[in-house]
């Protein structure tokens, strides 16, 4: 039954957007997590979405999070010799989290989530009225 497929598709999108919101939360929470070396510094995480087509060749497919990759944008180096994490040169490393971009990403993710909730709601009412077929 195709209604089940639709629920699965909307559900997969909601799961994917939840992963995206998770990365945003992690990035924003760690925006100021300072480290003394480049290797130890937190890097912004980004999910990679991909569409999964079902075998039957039907149009449309579910969303899957393929991977969560770390951003390779340069870290922010700041000269803070008094900082307890500072290295021998007095430098500390701040994560490469772009807070403005993260906020817009968050809005986009939550809107997309809501859209899929709406889809599910619509499917539900369609299915319910189909069940009432032939009733008075």
């Amino acid at each position: 039954m195709s209604f089940q497929d639709i629920s699965k598709i909307a559900g997969s999108a909601m799961a994917a957007q939840t992963v995206r919101l998770n990365t945003v939360a992690s990035n924003l929470a760690n925006a100021d997590s300072v480290a003394g070396s480049e290797g130890e510094t937190y890097r912004a995480r980004k999910p990679v979405f991909t569409a999964v087509m079902d075998g039957s060749g039907n149009a449309g497919g579910q969303v899957q999070v393929m991977d969560v990759v770390e951003s390779d944008e340069p870290l922010r180096r700041v000269y803070e010799p008094g900082h307890p994490m500072a290295n021998a040169d007095g430098m500390v490393f701040y994560p490469n989290v772009n807070q403005v971009a993260e906020m817009t990403d968050m809005m986009s993710a939550s809107r997309a989530f809501e859209t899929n909730v709406e889809v599910l709601g619509r499917i539900k009412s369609m299915q319910q009225s189909l069940l009432k077929l032939g009733e008075a």
Partner: protein, 120 residues
């Protein structure tokens, strides 16, 4: 003399099936709003319905998706995703309403039959 439901319900049962199918396609578009490189699809409803009607065996052959087409975006985006959420939401909403319409027609046909059987 039996009742041929296929004849009684006419185009509406096929339309109902296609509407449900189109809902799935549009839901997939909405779900993949943020998937890079995803190409939004839709179906040519008229030709799909014609195809379904011409199929005299009454078998539902929507699986081969001969009527599935790619949507042409108004504003191409750099990541190759052709989903435009407003367009998809409008199409989804319209499709849901059309589904209800087909459903109402089917329901009216069935009620008509029930009335005839009851002899009222």
């Amino acid at each position: 003399m039996g009742i041929n439901f296929k004849e009684v319900l006419g185009v509406h049962s096929d339309a109902l099936h296609l509407r449900a199918d189109r809902t799935r396609v549009l839901a997939a578009n909405i779900a993949n709003e943020n998937t890079p490189g995803f190409q939004a699809m839709d179906m040519d409803f008229g030709s799909a319905l014609q195809q379904l009607q011409d199929n005299s065996a009454g078998l539902l052959s929507t699986d081969d998706d001969a009527s599935a087409l790619y949507r042409v975006p108004y504003h191409p985006s750099r990541d190759g995703n052709t989903v435009e959420i407003g367009v998809e939401q409008a199409a989804f909403s319209q499709n849901a309403t059309d589904f209800q319409t087909s459903l109402t027609f089917v329901n009216m046909k069935i009620k008509g039959l029930a009335k005839a059987i009851a002899g009222q």
